[in-house]
Every structure is written in structure tokens, then in C-alpha cells.
Point group: C2
Chain length 151, copies 2
């Protein structure tokens, strides 16, 4: 069976997720791309950083905004290994991310296609284009392996 090759940003997001697992953090990784260039990448780090907001998406958005010297990430893409939660979906709106690509769905914590459905709210100021499922199997397996070891 031939698999369609994963786009490079999702490869890098998965590699960042793997690095998080090595540090005892839930394996989630994120990459921000502008005009085909990776401008920021990050993994989940709330335990290491003593920071409940240190999700991969938040860290990647903060780094990209620093790199660009602009609070708006217009024309940027966010690639992340798991469906963003309400906090991260809200940050995506504030940052004006143009396109969101995520791998695995998250029925428990996700807020894009589940729960708070942040982008579907009538008052939502900015709606990114959303593409789900790219690298889903790899991202889900990383999470399963992480929680299996900890049980």
C-alpha cells in the first residue's frame, strides 16, 4: 500500500511532539509556516515551563509573532498534531492565522469540531481555513504510546 507523503510542516510537528514525550510532556507539536518557510516550531511544555498556557500552538504563535515583530500572523499557516483546545483556538483567532492543519481529532479536549467550536460562534472575529486528518495515524499513535507507558 502506498501512503501519500506527509507535508514537511506536519513531519516537523510530529518530530516536535516526539521530543515533548522524551521530556515527559504530552506529545503535541506545532509549526508555523509563512510563504512556504517555517518561522516557528514548538512542543507542549506546561510541566517543564510551569506554565498552564504552554501548549504547542501558544508557544509557536508567540515565537512566530516575536520573529515577525507583529501581533498578527496574517498569511501564516499553523500545523499541529492535535485538534486545538478552546485556549489555542482562541489564540488562533487573535493571531489571525490564515490556515489551520491538524492531525488527530480530540473529542475530549478539542474545540474546533467538538465542544466550544470556537470558529463556529457567530461573534468569532476571524475564521481560519481548517484542514483535519493530515498525519492523524502517526499523531494518535504517539499519544497512545505516551499514555500506555504511564498507566
Amino acid at each position: 500500500m502506498t501512503h501519500w507523503p506527509l507535508p514537511l510542516p506536519m513531519h516537523r510537528a510530529l518530530a516536535a511532539a516526539k521530543a515533548a514525550a522524551g521530556l515527559g510532556e504530552v506529545p503535541i507539536g506545532a509549526v508555523i509556516v509563512k510563504h512556504g518557510q517555517v518561522i516557528a516550531e514548538a512542543h507542549n511544555a506546561p510541566r517543564t515551563d510551569h506554565d498552564p498556557t504552554a501548549h504547542a500552538e501558544i508557544l509557536a504563535i508567540r515565537r512566530a509573532a516575536q520573529a515577525l515583530g507583529d501581533e498578527r500572523l496574517t498569511e501564516c499557516e499553523l500545523w499541529v498534531t492535535l485538534e486545538p483546545c478552546a485556549m489555542c483556538a482562541g489564540a488562533i483567532v487573535h493571531a489571525r492565522i490564515a490556515r489551520l492543519y491538524y492531525a488527530a481529532s480530540d473529542p475530549k479536549g478539542g474545540a474546533v469540531e467538538h465542544g466550544a467550536r470556537v470558529f463556529e460562534q457567530p461573534q468569532c472575529l476571524h475564521r481560519p481555513e481548517v484542514y483535519a486528518g493530515i498525519g492523524e495515524a502517526q499523531a494518535a499513535e504517539l499519544l497512545r504510546a505516551f499514555f500506555r507507558e504511564r498507566r
Copy 2:
């Protein structure tokens, strides 16, 4: 007419909001209290910091978690001058804030009693106690004055 005096943390959150306006930032302030002691305060700073996540609540939560050396803010109260957005409500959940006090409601951007209603989602992992309207008139007037000047 006698007004019930505002609790000290809301006074300080309003003072932080005023400081934000002086820097050209939307006037919103937040304070975190643990066992009667203020352990962090912050104002809105996305423009100054080039950081779309730099809402008063996020900055206060990050500072409090740093101060405690813990990603969980159990037994802490968050006092903020405006109803939190989806991003900040999500951060409040992740931080396990025990009680949320906010001044003005925000029908456009709020996600507590409006829009995404983050704490009312069935999958929401942690629900703070919520008290609204304390200092509402002062907080709303700060925001009105700020936007009036900019029109």
C-alpha cells in the same frame, strides 16, 4: 447614594487596566489572589509585546504559575475587568483557577456567558465558580473612554 466598596483585587485590576490605556493597549487588567495575597497582576499588552496571546488573564496566569513553580493554580482566584474570551477561559480551565470574578460582560468577545461558553461545555475538565458584575461600571467606562478617544 452609598456604593458598596470594591474588593481590593478588583481595585488593582482596574488600576492595571488604566495603565494599559496609557500605553495604547485596550484597558483590561487582571489580578491573581491566593489565600488573600495578590501573587500576580497584569494588563493587556499584545501590541507592546508583539504577542497575540498577551491578554491580561494569560499574563497574570503565567506570572502566578512562575511565582508558585507549578502549572496548576489550585485555590487561586482570578479577578479581571472584562469577561474572558475563549482563549482566556480555556487557560483558566488548564490552570484550575478556583474562582473567577469579572467586572464587565463582553457580548462581542466574551466566552463565559456568551459565544463559546467554555465552562458550560460537557467535556470541560474544570469549572471555576464565577462571579460577574463587580466593578462593572468602572471597567466599562474605561473601555468606552479608550475607544471614544480613538474614533
